[in-house]
């Protein structure tokens, strides 16, 4: 048995409802090697408890939640306006950049990400609706919604299905075959951090699969128009119009806008990587998730994410994605509710003997960095991991099927946007 910190959950014989995983450390202790066993009944009961939490919150949504998201929107617009205005005041340049950075972070995370998950659709406000919201970043929201809400949240951490596992660029686990280009892992991760919004934009093109010949450039054509339009709008305002409007201070404004985008990129990358790749987060193979029950889906979401501890303001600035576990369990529940649910979820996990991965930002970040470096190198020993088995090939075939489906979806949802 390897002592790999990567937990890989595999189906256990004889019952297909019995789920087995080598769990990560519940707190700070070393990972136990004892597998987590839930009987079919336990798994169902675990799912029912989570369903009950979800229902309770959904029934309680109302005025307070609406007022909260509107307050955040007001704050974001105020930071944005202040940031733009302070560029006229040369000594306030650092303040302007900080203000604009905060605006972009709030816009993308607590507002954009969460609104696009449909967390506020119940408000019936077209400006806070997943159907129409557009965010202050280069990736068109419609395209992101597909790859994120559908592929990533449905097939979370299923190797070969969830394209957020390494983003088709990084090697983040031993299930991914090592190739010499993986030596660049730390460099790729660093570049992805600096250019995160562009990485998110290009994610949908699946350039890695174009390189390997699994996809052609022509396949990406339905995406081009939306991408170009959004890139044009974003660059026009940040790198042309606002700098021009400050006249002689054109260059400092240009640099300030670029820096604000950079700050947002680094922050978003950090939070997202710390929510998905710290040591102990599990990956899954496709067989064990075939015909998955809702309870098992919860189980996979729980094992596939990690939380970051921090204060109230920190949570808001992460879009409450510091509660990645609760977000993955309840992606369409308003994120401001995650902190109040967290204690309960943790208590449920304790009762069922399931891991609940949480830690300080520094700890989770260090853990992610370690992984990025470790998987740059080839496996030291022969692993028993499901590298390229017949199952993996079968899986690749199915993934192709999904992608075909997806191209259709993108076609109707973002290109023609027709309501019948």
């Amino acid at each position: 048995m390897t002592t790999s910190p990567v937990t890989s959950a595999r189906p256990a014989a004889p019952s297909r409802f019995t789920t087995r995983a080598r769990p990560p450390a519940p707190a700070r202790s070393t990972p136990p090697t004892r597998p987590v066993m839930l009987t079919a009944e336990q798994l169902a009961a675990f799912g029912a408890e989570l369903d009950a939490i979800r229902q309770r919150i959904i029934d309680d949504l109302g005025e307070k939640d609406a007022a909260y998201i509107r307050r955040v929107v007001r704050a974001q617009r105020a930071f944005e306006a202040a940031g733009r205005a302070l560029f006229y005041l040369p000594p306030a340049w650092p303040l302007a950049v900080a203000s604009l950075s905060v605006s972009k972070i709030l816009d993308n995370m607590e507002i954009g990400h969460n609104v696009l998950h449909g967390q506020y659709d119940w408000m019936g406000d077209p400006d806070l609706n997943s159907r129409g919201y557009e965010w202050d970043t280069v990736c068109p929201s419609g395209q992101w919604k597909y790859s994120h809400n559908y592929i990533h949240h449905t097939y979370t951490n299923i190797v070969g299905r969830d394209r957020d596992l390494g983003y088709g660029l990084l090697r983040m686990g031993e299930e991914q075959r090592w190739e010499p280009r993986c030596l660049g892992n730390p460099l790729y991760a660093f570049l992805l951090m600096l250019l995160f919004e562009w990485g998110v934009l290009l994610h949908d093109l699946e350039v890695d699969r174009i390189v390997t010949g699994e996809r052609t450039w022509a396949d990406t054509r339905p995406l081009h128009r939306g991408m170009l339009r959004k890139v044009r709008n974003q660059t026009l305002k940040d790198y042309v119009l606002f700098p021009l409007l400050t006249g002689p201070r054109l260059l400092p404004t240009l640099a300030g806008d670029a820096l604000a985008n950079l700050v947002r990129n680094v922050w978003a990358f950090t939070i997202i990587f710390c929510g998905h790749f710290p040591t102990g987060v599990a990956t899954f193979c496709e067989e064990e998730t075939r015909d998955e029950s809702r309870a098992h889906w919860y189980y996979r979401q729980l094992l596939g994410s990690a939380n970051i501890t921090g204060g109230r303001l920190f949570h808001v600035m992460t879009g409450n994605l510091s509660h990645q576990i609760e977000h993955h369990l309840f992606p369409d529940v308003p994120a401001r509710r995650y902190p109040e649910i967290a204690a309960e979820v943790r208590e449920i996990c304790r009762r069922y003997g399931l891991p609940y991965n949480t830690g300080r930002l520094s700890r989770q970040f260090f853990s992610v960095e370690k992984k990025i470096f470790r998987f740059a190198l080839p496996p030291a020993e022969k692993t028993t991991g499901p590298t390229r088995t017949a199952a993996a090939h079968r899986m690749a075939d199915r993934v192709r099927g999904i992608r075909r489906q997806r191209e259709k979806f993108v076609g109707t949802a973002t290109v023609s946007r027709r309501v019948v």
């Binding site: 007001r74 019936g124 406000d125 202050d136 974003q234 119009l241 979806f409 027709r418």
Partner: protein, 359 residues
């Protein structure tokens, strides 16, 4: 003001405020500042009647972006109740308005109704609501004919009142016959104003439940000889409209307005599968009714607004199957598409992802 408006509407401002748009910033300074959207502040709420379900008239001061309305048109009004925006249609009851002009709506509080009971019972001056542009072809042509017949029932008097008020304000010299049905004199909306109309408006207030004569072709002929050749506007409950339509069968002079569109069906057969967040919440045999009605019958409460295909509140994602638009008869068989469930009836088996209800 117009210079500011033109500036705020310019492509440069649109580019600077991208992707949110200029209104998203203006509204935070003052909810009554808008260049593309339309909002209105409630300035007065006046009770009209108390008998049965109470009726009130709300005076609205729209933003400068309100383009005005023609007498007889309606607006979609959006109001936030407990954090949820609900949209309903209301006919404008005040005379035709111009850009930014004040309007009134007159609302009967439906006892189980979310929006109407809020507007009548809880709305206070200062409340800001959302408006659409005015719409609808239930209007009087230009120039107006010399003979007009208006027939209304209950709260259906509102668009008719707007037309009468507009005609009189412009000094209309022709003859108006105005036939209105209500439960009792105590239920009569605009009673004072109706009593004071000039002599070229012949008002007949009828209370069939208190012995008044029901609407029949003979009764119509008595009040308005040759009525089938007179330009007629009718608005009221479905039963009344049906009787009027029968009386006008074969005549092209009748225009009607519905507050509740009549039920229309598609063919029954097959199954309807409703999902929410990817999970199946109900599977029912397809009765042929609209998907909204079938969802409601199954105990689900999808979000709706106008229930007639205009507000898009009920937009849902169809994942499978064929649907027929009950108003146009057009069928749509794309596998993944957004549909308005209030006007879509399934043809055979169909699967629809419905949005979370607004409670």
């Amino acid at each position: 003001m117009t210079l500011v408006q033109a500036l705020l509407r310019s492509p440069v401002v649109a580019a600077l405020t991208s992707p949110h748009g200029v209104d998203r910033y203006l509204e935070l300074v003052n909810p009554m500042w808008a260049v593309n959207e339309i909002r209105a502040r409630v300035v007065r709420v006046e009770p009209e009647t108390h008998a049965g379900a109470p009726v009130a008239t709300l005076t609205l001061q729209p933003t400068g972006s309100w383009p005005g309305h023609l007498a007889g048109q309606y607006v979609q009004l959006g109001v936030e109740i407990d954090g949820v925006r609900h949209i309903r249609c209301f006919s404008v009851s005040s005379p035709a308005s111009g850009r930014g002009g004040r309007i009134t709506i007159t609302v009967r509080a439906n006892p189980d109704g979310v929006v109407s009971s809020y507007l009548v019972g809880r709305a206070r001056p200062g409340l800001v609501v959302h408006l659409s542009r005015a719409a609808g072809a239930f209007t009087v042509p230009e120039p107006p004919p010399r003979q007009l017949l208006f027939i209304s029932g209950g709260s259906g008097i509102t668009p008719v009142m707007s037309m009468v008020r507009t005609l009189l304000r412009r000094g209309y010299g022709g003859t108006i016959t105005f036939l209105h049905y209500s439960r009792s004199p105590a239920h009569q909306i605009f009673a004072g104003e109706l009593a004071a109309l000039p002599p070229n408006v012949h008002v007949h207030l009828v209370h069939p439940r208190q012995g008044g004569r029901r609407l029949t072709p003979a009764e119509l002929s008595r009040l308005m000889p040759g009525y089938r050749d007179v330009d007629t506007w009718a608005c009221g409950p479905a039963g009344l409209i049906e009787r009027i339509q029968d009386a006008y069968a074969g005549s092209d002079r009748l225009r009607v307005e519905y507050f509740r569109p009549p039920a229309v069906r598609g063919p029954a057969g097959g199954e309807v599968i409703f999902t929410r967040a990817g999970a199946t919440v109900a599977t029912v045999p397809n009765s042929g009714a609209t998907l909204l009605e079938q969802a409601e019958a199954a105990g689900l409460a999808p979000t709706f607004g106008c229930r007639m295909g205009i507000c898009l509140s009920c937009t849902s994602h169809k994942t499978e199957g064929v649907v027929r638009n009950v108003r146009t008869g057009e069928e749509s068989r794309q596998p993944d598409e957004d549909i308005r469930i209030c006007v879509s009836a399934p043809v055979g088996t169909c699967a629809v992802e419905i949005p979370v209800p607004s409670r």
